[in-house]
């Protein structure tokens, strides 16, 4: 005859026994990973020495407020523009053709040396000496280089870009479609971008890494 009951006595676990069991398990884990743990402890000692833990603890303890302050201070036109500029600069560097630039740099160096020598000797020039200099082979060479440089500045961006754009690649945004063919929507971006994923990745990774440090577990 079993009458209905809702009384349930929980099993009492002997705390001492439980502790012993937990310790045994921990001991096993430690022994199984002896080498790695020893190295880790050495590293941790260094952290301890450098107050890294205290700093990290304080930061994590206040992570929400710190994150809020960081992102609010970063959410400012100058700051975001400077991050953006850095990314764009890195991107621009990627466009430089260093192979071709190297001889030019030599020339610039030589020119700088000449300027320094000129300044050092305090030579006084005259119209005649200028004219006679025009006969100098190196001056002629230099002027040709300068003219090439000036010509290069004169090339329109679109024409210059043509060589490197895949003919088959379709425009990826409305602004790449000729103005007259586009709908009347305002454009607030003007720089065409070619894919340089590594630059984006580094830039994005930096942006992502900071908040990750402060990410609070929600569960």
């Amino acid at each position: 005859m079993a009458k209905a009951t809702t009384v349930i006595r929980k099993m009492e676990v002997d705390p001492e026994e439980k502790r012993k069991e937990d310790l045994r398990e921990l001991e096993d884990v430690l022994l199984d990973n002896k080498e790695g743990i020893t190295d880790l402890l050495k590293l941790l000692q260094r952290f301890q020495h450098k107050e890294v833990f205290h700093m990290a603890e304080s930061m994590l303890g206040q992570s929400d407020k710190i994150l809020e302050r960081v992102v609010i201070s970063m959410d400012h036109p100058e700051v975001t523009q400077s991050i953006k500029n850095m990314l764009l600069l890195a991107q621009a560097l990627g466009k430089l053709k260093m192979d071709e630039l190297e001889p030019v740099i030599h020339k610039v160096n030589a020119a700088v040396e000449n300027i320094a020598e000129y300044e050092h000797n305090h030579n006084k020039g005259s119209y005649l000496s200028i004219l006679s200099t025009l006969k100098d082979k190196e001056v002629m060479q230099g002027m040709n280089v300068m003219l090439a440089l000036v010509k290069g500045f004169g090339i329109r961006e679109e024409d210059g870009g043509k060589e490197s754009i895949d003919e088959n690649e379709r425009p990826a945004r409305l602004s790449d479609i000729p103005e007259r063919d586009r709908p009347d929507t305002p454009s607030h971006e003007s720089n065409p971008q070619k894919s340089s994923k590594w630059v984006y990745f580094i830039g994005g990774a930096v942006a992502v890494a900071v908040p990750l440090l402060f990410r609070k577990r929600q569960y």
């Binding site: 945004r173 479609i177 063919d181 942006a207 929600q218």
Partner: protein, 984 residues
């Protein structure tokens, strides 16, 4: 099959299937973007991103039918420009902060389209719609992320057909609204989750995902906005955003598990992926390939899983000591079971023990339970809870057509020209199946007839709703049959070719004249003739029925009458027609299929058949009993009579769901030894000697068989909680303690054994059920399954069905003082007594307790209002419950949902009266008297319940209203205009 040619980008292509241009291009791997299009929803035509040129004209490829000799251009610069214009408009509505977005899981369709189209910037800046985020405890809507694709609206209006969502195209900035612009929680939304399932982005999203799915999405609200601003301001093009967010999405793959399972609630058999992070369930993600439900779920399947991590779960075995339980170790529990079972078997014989299996458990577990009873203990005293619901339907089908299963699949119901629903509150009991009926009626004009005593949702929508007197269905069904025969509307050819016993049956119809039917059923002659005429006019008729038919003294006979009507009218052996007894539990079909029945082995072979028994004896290496055992109902009586001394019951709260529970609980008290195996400490557990902690479906592998006879695999999503174990492991251990030598390592081995023995499942194997693959029985040895149950013959002598004459069993009669008819059944939100669904705070918040539906007439007569507490008293017991006044019930009929195990539990009122052929309790035959206990009280149904909502039906998203807006120009037209201007 269509055969013609078209030209795509200058290349000739053959068209073999009629389809939309977008589908055709997708098949041919021609890339065309699309955002509003969803294969399960069809063309919505809101996003314009799929524009292509056909014969020189810009068209939306999603809604364009492909025709012979069409010349299609998808690479044309004008096409690309039009697509970019469309995409730019989309991006004006959706802010790309992917890396800190919870939807960044590789499946964001906007993210993916931006990548595929190599879009680096947008011209139309994103701007707010100036409308706050809407949310409830299930999902949220962020208007500022909504691209107005209308998928959610399409799903709500035309798939789920709750008709809550629309897009208000008249607003300056259109957005999705609920009802007439109500907050979600005050609308008619039933929280089925379709909207969040089909949303292509994070606009409509499950709240379980919020702040949880992403590594960076859990920021406090104050930091999130500046973070998004920084991300957007420093980006030098979308490539960087896409790259970083793709990496973050890839990282999520490491910690978010996506595991396929099959729903543990009703018999529809919805399958879906469960997204988990450790034990945390982030969301349920239905898949279009799921055979029964596709993208559909109901509130329970989508959001009702909190119970899995409930603190109330049983995690250790319990052993009774006097009037209390104490937690114990498994070894001790098994020792005790072994000792007691052995002793009782030895002292009182095998038949003094009984076993009760569960429709909540897997097929493999049902198989093992009956193997334990028969093969180890040596008794056929094994049954399952289909005894409480669908045994009469199975009986009716066995008698007439040979197999006790649905004639076809849900797809057949969908395509049926006439759907008749009898005694089935299917919108609440089988919600996803009901959506297919509602959709068929709404979009395709199929006719729906409902016969019920309560005006539930399908009744409200029906083309014809008739209210027969309770328990009189057999009479009107037979009258319809007779009327059709009298009119010569029966299918003579079908009867001649496929049916036996025609003459005797026709003679048996003689008493069922229209006059007799009118007198006994309260239907009018016109109504009966109208039903007959509808069946005659429809090429295919499907009849759906459930507990309103089966839970009566003549439940088997009424089920038989349904099948008789279908046979007479030739509505078997063809797609879109047949009998559909809608199974109530996830595996109520499989529990019986796999032999948890007192008279049948797996696959419905009789225990009395010597050849069959010999087959099992040989396989199991034991002698088996040849006499049928006791069913559930008989077990209770046998306990009272002292014939049955020990019961092992799993996954069944028999102490609350059986009829006349005072009587059942009294029986439990008399048992010498009672083992109950469950996930929670149920009412039945309170009477046990040993309680064993079992694991629910998410914590085990196995298969379920749904109402369509469809086998589907469930994969283990989580580890068993605490020390709980999957039922099959517990049963195996019990069996081995009693001398069996079972060594199953995985449920697939159990299935292999069952398939080897039961011809009905001969070809079933886990290999054929990988992922979302499924099989509908019978399954031949070569793995061929049977979606349409009867094709050339019936599994009866000479291949013919049998017309089986039946007589009406009048419902139970009560003394005059019992004047209130107490109808009872399910609610959408809670499953049965609610021991799973009440664990969901969100569901309980909407529907916190049971309530009694009272008609307006009765309320007026007795001075009852919302919140009035009454006592209903039947000759068998009483309940106390608060009332809701509604027009869903009529006169002196009240409706008491079964979703409580407290003082309002329906089975304190019901009797032990049962179906005469199957012993299924006649739950629906109960009258009571009613007293008002507290005239005024708080309404048991909060105003946030969907029943107080105000649906706004329309077809789809009403895109024509968008196109009519002054600020809308079709991108193709815009491009044409500009090209024309350019060319002067």
């Amino acid at each position: 099959m269509v055969h013609f040619e078209v030209t795509v980008n200058g290349k000739k292509e053959a068209v073999e299937n009629e389809s939309s241009l977008l589908n055709f291009l997708t098949d041919k791997e021609v890339e065309v973007p699309s955002l509003c299009y969803h294969p399960s929803l069809g063309a919505i035509e809101t996003c314009d991103t799929c524009i292509v040129k056909v014969n020189g004209e810009f068209v939306r490829s999603c809604s364009t039918e492909i025709k012979p000799d069409d010349v299609v251009e998808t690479m044309d610069s004008g096409v690309h420009e039009a697509q970019l214009i469309a995409m730019d408009r989309v991006l004006g509505n959706h802010e790309l902060y992917c890396t800190v977005c919870d939807y960044n899981n590789g499946n964001c369709e906007i993210h993916n389209a931006v990548k595929e189209m190599k879009i680096s910037h947008q011209e139309t800046p994103h701007s707010t719609k100036e409308s706050p985020i809407q949310r409830n405890d299930f999902y949220r809507y962020d208007p500022d992320q909504c691209i107005l694709c209308g998928r959610c609206v399409e799903a709500c209006q035309d798939v789920q057909v709750t008709e809550t969502l629309t897009i208000d195209w008249e607003l300056e900035r259109p957005r999705v609204i609920w009802d007439k612009n109500s907050p979600i929680n005050e609308s008619s939304c039933v929280n089925c989750g379709h909207c969040s399932t089909v949303c292509p982005c994070n606009a409509m999203m499950e709240v379980g995902m919020e702040g949880e799915a992403g590594f960076l999405s859990g920021f406090q609200k104050e930091a999130m906005r500046p973070m998004i601003n920084i991300t957007k301001n420093v980006e030098t093009g979308y490539e960087s955003l896409m790259t970083i967010s793709d990496i973050e999405a890839q990282m999520r793959e490491e910690r978010i598990e996506k595991t396929k399972t099959v729903c543990t609630y009703c018999g529809v058999g919805c399958a879906f992926d469960v997204w988990t992070k450790d034990r945390q369930i982030l969301k349920i993600e239905p898949q279009a390939e799921a055979p029964a439900n596709g993208i559909s779920t109901c509130v329970k399947g989508k959001f009702g899983w909190d119970f899995v991590n409930s603190d109330e779960r049983l995690t250790k075995p319990l052993i009774r000591e006097g009037d209390e339980f104490r937690e114990a170790e498994w070894e001790e529990a098994f020792d005790l079971i072994e000792k007691k079972f052995k002793a009782i078997k030895k002292d009182k014989g095998s038949d003094s023990l009984a076993f009760i299996s569960s429709s909540k458990c897997t097929n493999e577990e049902s198989y093992l339970m009956q193997k334990l009873a028969r093969g180890v203990i040596g008794t056929n005293n094994i049954d399952n809870c289909s005894r409480y619901c669908q045994s009469p339907a199975t009986m009716g089908l066995w008698r007439t057509v040979g197999y006790g299963g649905d004639s076809g699949g849900i797809g057949d119901i969908e395509q049926s020209e006439l759907i008749i629903s009898i005694g089935s509150n299917t919108v609440e009991s089988h919600p996803v199946l009901a959506t297919r009926v509602k959709r068929a009626q709404k979009l395709n004009g199929q006719k729906v007839i409902v016969a019920d005593i309560r005006k539930h949702e399908l009744a409200e929508r029906a083309d014809l709703f008739v209210k027969p007197a309770p328990g009189s269905d057999l009479v009107w069904l037979s009258a319809v049959t007779k009327y059709m025969v009298d009119q010569g509307w029966h299918d003579e050819e079908f009867l001649e070719k496929h049916v036996n016993n025609v003459v005797e049956f026709m003679e048996s119809l003689a008493p069922y004249t229209l006059d007799y039917a009118v007198e006994e059923t309260n239907l009018s002659k016109d109504e009966i003739i109208s039903i007959a005429t509808s069946i005659k006019e429809a090429k295919t008729t499907s009849v759906l029925w459930a507990m309103g038919v089966t839970q009566h003294g003549g439940g088997s006979d009424t089920s038989t009458a349904i099948s008789n009507l279908l046979l007479v009218t030739g509505n078997y052996m063809k797609p879109g027609a047949g009998a559909y007894p809608l199974r109530g539990h996830n595996n109520v079909q499989g529990a019986s299929d796999f032999g948890s029945m007192p008279d049948r082995f797996p696959g419905y072979e009789f225990v009395t058949d010597d050849n069959v028994r010999e087959k099992y004896e040989k396989s199991w290496g034991v002698n088996l009993p040849s006499e049928p055992g006791l069913n559930n109902h008989e077990m209770v009586e046998a306990i009272h009579e002292g014939q049955l001394n020990a019961v092992y019951l799993k996954g069944e709260d028999m102490g609350i769901v059986d009829a006349n529970i005072n009587h059942v609980q009294a029986a439990f008290e008399k048992l010498d030894f009672f083992v109950v195996q469950d996930v929670f400490f149920s009412k039945t557990c309170q009477y046990a000697d040993v309680v064993l902690p079992a694991s629910p479906s998410l914590e085990k592998d196995g298969t379920f068989t749904n109402t369509e006879r469809r086998f589907q695999r469930l994969y283990q999503v989580l580890e068993p909680l605490g020390e709980s174990l999957p039922d099959w492991r517990i049963i195996m251990e019990v069996a081995n303690r009693l001398g069996a030598d079972w060594s199953y390592e995985h449920p697939s081995e159990i299935m292999d054994e069952a398939a080897l023995l039961a011809p009905l499942f001969a070809g079933v194997s886990y290999d054929l059920l990988e992922g979302y693959d499924s099989l509908q029985w019978p399954v031949a040895k070569d793995g061929t399954d049977t979606p349409l149950l009867f094709k050339e013959e019936f599994p009866l002598p000479d291949g013919k069905a049998i017309l089986y004459p039946v007589q009406w069993t009048k419902p139970l009669e009560f003394e005059e003082e019992y004047d209130i008819h107490v109808n009872n059944g399910r609610l959408l939100e809670h499953f049965h007594e609610g021991n799973l669904t009440y664990k969901s705070k969100a569901i309980s918040g909407k529907t916190p307790s049971v309530f009694l539906e009272i008609s307006k007439e009765l309320a007026e007569e007795r001075g009852i209002e919302d919140g009035t507490k009454v006592r209903l008293t039947s000759p068998y017991g009483n309940v106390k419950v608060s009332c809701i006044v509604t027009d869903r019930v009529f006169g002196k009929q009240v409706y008491l949902p079964m979703n409580t195990s407290g003082e309002g539990a329906i089975n304190y009122l019901t009797s032990s009266h049962a179906d005469k052929d199957t012993d299924t309790p006649a739950y629906k035959e109960i009258l009571a008297k009613m007293e008002v206990l507290e005239p005024k009280g708080e309404s048991p149904l909060p105003k946030t319940n969907h029943r107080f909502g105000n649906p706004q039906p329309q077809i789809g998203v009403n895109v024509a209203e968008k196109w009519a807006r002054e600020d809308y120009v079709f991108p193709g037209d815009l491009v044409k205009e500009r090209r024309a201007a350019k060319n002067g």
